[in-house]
Amino acid sequence: MRMATLLLALLAATLASPAAQVKGRGTPGAPIQLDVYSDYQCPACKALYERTLVPLMADYVDKGKVYLIHHEFPLPMHPHAMEAACYACAASRVGKYEQAGDVLFRTQESWAASGKVDQTVCSILTPVEAQKVRALAKDPAIIAEVQQDIQAGRNANVSSTPTLILTHRSKQYRVPGGAGYEILRRFIDQLLSQ
């Protein structure tokens, strides 16, 4: 009886709090895992997203060859980066993390200049979702989730963005974020053929 009460209390606590979610895309058991540490206000991260991650998702992630995990790593030098990361994490609670990330990168120059992160993210949400995301973006649990990502990055010696860490058969490779897609693709193919 006591055990059942304890289990019920744990279940209730889990449902009540906005649980942290892994912001991954693809198949978790894919042969390659790619951890990306990025900052929505960083121009190099925008370039990485548009030139490398978008084709990578189509060619490898959605085909089950690479499991892509996004980590928030807002840099202090970018005044709106933390807010953008919180909004993206909040959007993940309504199932729109990727859409939020996409709009943040594609319109980076605009909101980075105006500071209108809220309007940018809410433009891809329904009014009900927007209301929920606005509240969640200020939730201490969401802020803590971003801080956890930052700490995970520091633990992995991440000091700049974008940083990519590729894991294949337990071996980790740090991949330069500014490299073009064609050479990254060649490297992934080489690993997959082993």
Partner: protein
């Protein structure tokens, strides 16, 4: 200088060569065929120069070649830094973005290599027994 070149070669050769090729590609200066060629050859060239410097073999030529290589690296890094590119230096493996500190370090290495070249050439020019 020999230790520096041997260590630089070691940090690159312990990783797949394509990882270093991606470091070169991140500078966005060279066509892909050249990036791939340099990605394969530079680590071995550094190893060769390190071994030759350690042996003191044909020092004036070896030191001059090392100075030219360091000069090219320094020029590319300074260009990327001036352009505001946020790229890894790629000098001794990854995880070291270009900064004033990396430029100063590589500048000092270049100065040391030029001094070595100058001394090697000067020694060659001195009469025997001087």
């Amino acid at each position: 200088m020999a230790v520096v070149f041997l260590y630089a070669a070691y940090t690159k050769l312990r990783e797949p060569w394509l990882v270093f090729a991606m470091s070169i590609d991140a500078y966005q200066l060279l066509p892909q065929w050249l990036v791939l060629t340099l990605g394969r050859t530079i680590p071995w060239l550094e190893l060769l120069l390190g071994l030759l410097l350690a042996a003191g073999f044909a020092l004036r030529y070896t030191a001059a070649a090392a100075a030219i290589l360091l000069g090219v690296f320094f020029g590319i890094m300074a260009h990327a830094y001036a352009q505001g590119l946020k790229v890894d230096c790629g000098c001794f493996g990854l995880g070291e973005p270009i900064s004033a500190r990396t430029l100063l370090r590589d500048g000092l290495l270049l100065a040391a290599c030029l001094t070595l070249t100058f001394l090697a050439l000067r020694r060659r020019g001195l009469p025997r027994g001087a």
